[in-house]
């Protein structure tokens, strides 16, 4: 009896307390609002605009969701992104390598940075947030050493397809983002790796005691996070046609904000990729809509801050 009753109230209250549901509603409300405010908001061009602009944040937010769910944190993604971008430019423009080879090497740079973090955090068991503050500063420094602050531009036109081209009438980078999102969604929902990720964030010991090498799971997540930061760097270079020393500066804050708005718990264990994507969309739509309304970015900051509080006020500490 009692359990049956409990179950019923559970279903009722779970819909109301379901974060994703609320976030989707919030997103719709935002869109509806901006649609009344600007006739341009719901045009195809603008929708693609938004979708292209969220690509880099989205690409990093995907593995960052894994990172945070598994109870870790990575503040160095902006610097990794910048280093990969700059490395791409240097491999191509200074070393004279083929552009696609340079892209591969840039991704490798991202992967290596991720591995560096992963090694210190998972193998040497150092605190993730501390390690990545360190590598954030250090890698940004490496960028300045390499570039002396000068932007690197001039790439073959076929390279711009990544960030500026269209496929089947849809921006290519958006397609890639959607593809990776679906893949990541699939992995976290339908594979054991996903289960381990949640398990790790909730009770690492219990995962270990279940005969699973939890260190490897953590290592993989952090390494892939580096790789995706590198990928975001490549796409950004292609979109902007230049690699500059400030690339990715501060993006970690936007990424983490999106992930947290998406309902992922800062201390791990709970969260979802769907939520993250909606979080990324909310930030993208909010930015775009307020821009269209001509709202000064100062007020946009305040609005974003209030929005964070509203979106996560159900997430108890």
């Amino acid at each position: 009896m009692i359990t049956a009753l409990r179950q019923k109230t559970n279903i009722l209250s779970s819909l109301v307390s379901n974060q994703i549901f609320i976030l989707v509603v919030l997103l719709f409300v935002l869109c509806a609002f901006f649609n009344t405010q600007s006739p341009y908001f719901l045009t195809q061009g603008n929708v693609f605009n938004i979708s292209t602009q969220i690509v880099e944040i989205g690409l990093i937010a995907i593995p960052m969701t894994y990172v945070i769910i598994s109870g870790n944190m990575d503040l160095s993604v902006g610097s990794i992104m910048g280093l990969s971008a700059v490395a791409l430019g240097m491999f191509h423009n200074m070393a004279g390598l083929n552009i696609w080879l340079s892209v591969l090497l840039a991704l490798l740079v991202g992967l290596l940075c991720g591995t560096f973090n992963a090694f210190l955090i998972s193998k040497l068991k150092m605190q993730a947030i501390v390690v990545t503050i360190g590598s954030m500063v250090m890698l940004r420094g490496v960028i300045y050493v390499l570039t002396e602050g000068r932007p690197i531009s001039g790439y073959p036109s076929e390279f711009y397809f990544l960030g500026q081209g269209q496929l089947l009438g849809v921006p290519f980078n958006t397609l890639i983002l959607v593809g990776f999102f679906l893949l990541a969604y699939y992995i976290i929902r339908f594979t054991r790796f996903g289960r381990y990720t949640y398990g790790l964030g909730n009770n690492e010991d219990a995962v270990y005691y279940s005969g699973i090498n939890q260190t490897n799971v953590r290592f993989t997540i952090l390494t892939i996070n580096g790789l995706f930061a590198g990928l975001a760097g490549v796409f950004l270079v292609s979109r902007l046609a230049t690699a500059e020393a400030t690339t990715g500066n501060g993006i970690e804050l936007s990424v983490i904000t999106a992930v947290l708005i998406g309902g992922t718990h800062i201390f791990g264990g709970r969260g979802s990729l769907g939520g993250t994507m909606i979080g990324v969309l909310i930030i993208g739509v909010l930015n775009n809509g307020l821009n269209l309304m001509g709202v000064s970015s100062l007020f946009q900051m305040v609005i974003l801050g209030l929005f964070i509080l509203i979106a996560v006020s159900r997430q108890k500490s």
């Binding site: 359990t3 409990r6 054991r192 909730n202 010991d205 995962v207 005691y209 090498n213």
Partner: protein, 502 residues
Amino acid sequence: MESILKMEGIDKLFPGVKALSSVDLELFKGEVHALMGENGAGKSTLMKILSGVYTQTKGTFSIKGEEIRIKSPSDAARAGISMIHQEFNLFPNLSVAENIFMDRPSITGTLGVINWKQMNEKAQALIDSLGASIDVREKVQNLSVQSQQVVEIAKAISFDAEILIMDEPSAALPENEVRNMLEVVMRLKEQGVAIVYVSHRMPEVFEIADRVTVLRDGKKIATKRTKETTQDQIINMMVGREVAELYPNKTKIRSEEVVLDVQEMTLGPNQKVNFQVRKGEIVGLFGLMGAGTHNVAERLFGLKKGKGTIMINGKKANIKSPKQAKKQKIGYVPPDRHRHGLIKEMTVKHNLTLTILDQLTEYSKLNREKEQELITDYIQDFNIKTPSSKQVVNLLSGGNQQKIVLSKWLATNPDILILEEPTRGVDVGAKAEIYALIQKLADDGMAILFISTEMPEVIGMSDRILVMRKGEMIRQYNYREVEQNELLSVASSIEQDEVKVI
């Protein structure tokens, strides 16, 4: 005798569980009052209500005839009640002295400034009076479990409370320190403190308690003077039926085929352990805290490294991690299910299949239909009481949680199952079910190593009992060949006649 506390008609309702119904308890000044009952009978709950951690759903208390309300631990402290909790409640990052005197006006002077010197001295005196040798400036995280228990006791005593509640204070202590602690209890008693002593250890209870109250399924069964009762009577009151019923009958003839052969496993200097477990056999491993039974389990499951040979089905096995142990078809139900056994925030389903996700993976995708089928089967087969497979484990009762830990290892279809404290925090009904389950597994051919500090279940369940003391295997008994008092005396190395049992 002067009555100091009266609890009357205490009810406690947790969501979906009635933990206490209409319990009365009276305490006299200067008495040791034992509170007994099976796991989950409601002892801790009653005491947590008394110490302000929980609030009762119904009922009243009065202290020295005056009715009072206790809504928080600080209320209780003001009313002269202090409690040693069953689980440690220490601040690992702080010193022993601070843990004892945390947040207390007595060691602070003007403006809330702490007098460290005075605090350390006071704390040291307290610790010394408990006969322990601990530096009070040491951080608690650097102490052994036993020393931490001593700190808990010192903290509770330091309040100079009129009522002291001790919830299983001896569970984590080695024998000599249990002695010290009991002496302290007697001393406090002489000073007129009323002590509620929760314990599963009959000898202690009969040694120090004046009266004993027995709880069963949240109800008070009786309060008796210790001198006027016997252990059998108490057990009868606790369980409500013959003890024998709890344990399944052994019908099958055991096979002679050795599945697990442990040779020269080193647990400490000059301490070697050798033993075997046969197919379909339940081997009980008994020892007091610190005897080394836990180390045996950890070594076998790859949680600890060490010397010695482990042979499985006649082949030498190299086990360096739980992962490798699993490959060798070993399962392990750890003693601390909250920390190591379960991911309590995750669902029944996800916990149950955590160990076998690799088997459920097809082309790197989880076969979720198969998973669901398996789970439905397990929930049925093992009689796990849960509203759905998607229920969060945290919300299940302890017994059902334990069944999940058990099931998740059974799912791996192990040859060898190591059970450590498999019924800790589990109520009687669930206990019987778990015992029956374990017996059935053995009957089906599983080799089972049954490690427990609860003597009755070791005796009731094991085909053979191995007794350990200080890292050594010292005696072996066959099925129901041994009595509790002998087992205890062997394990604690006190000569039989010295043990004051019954």
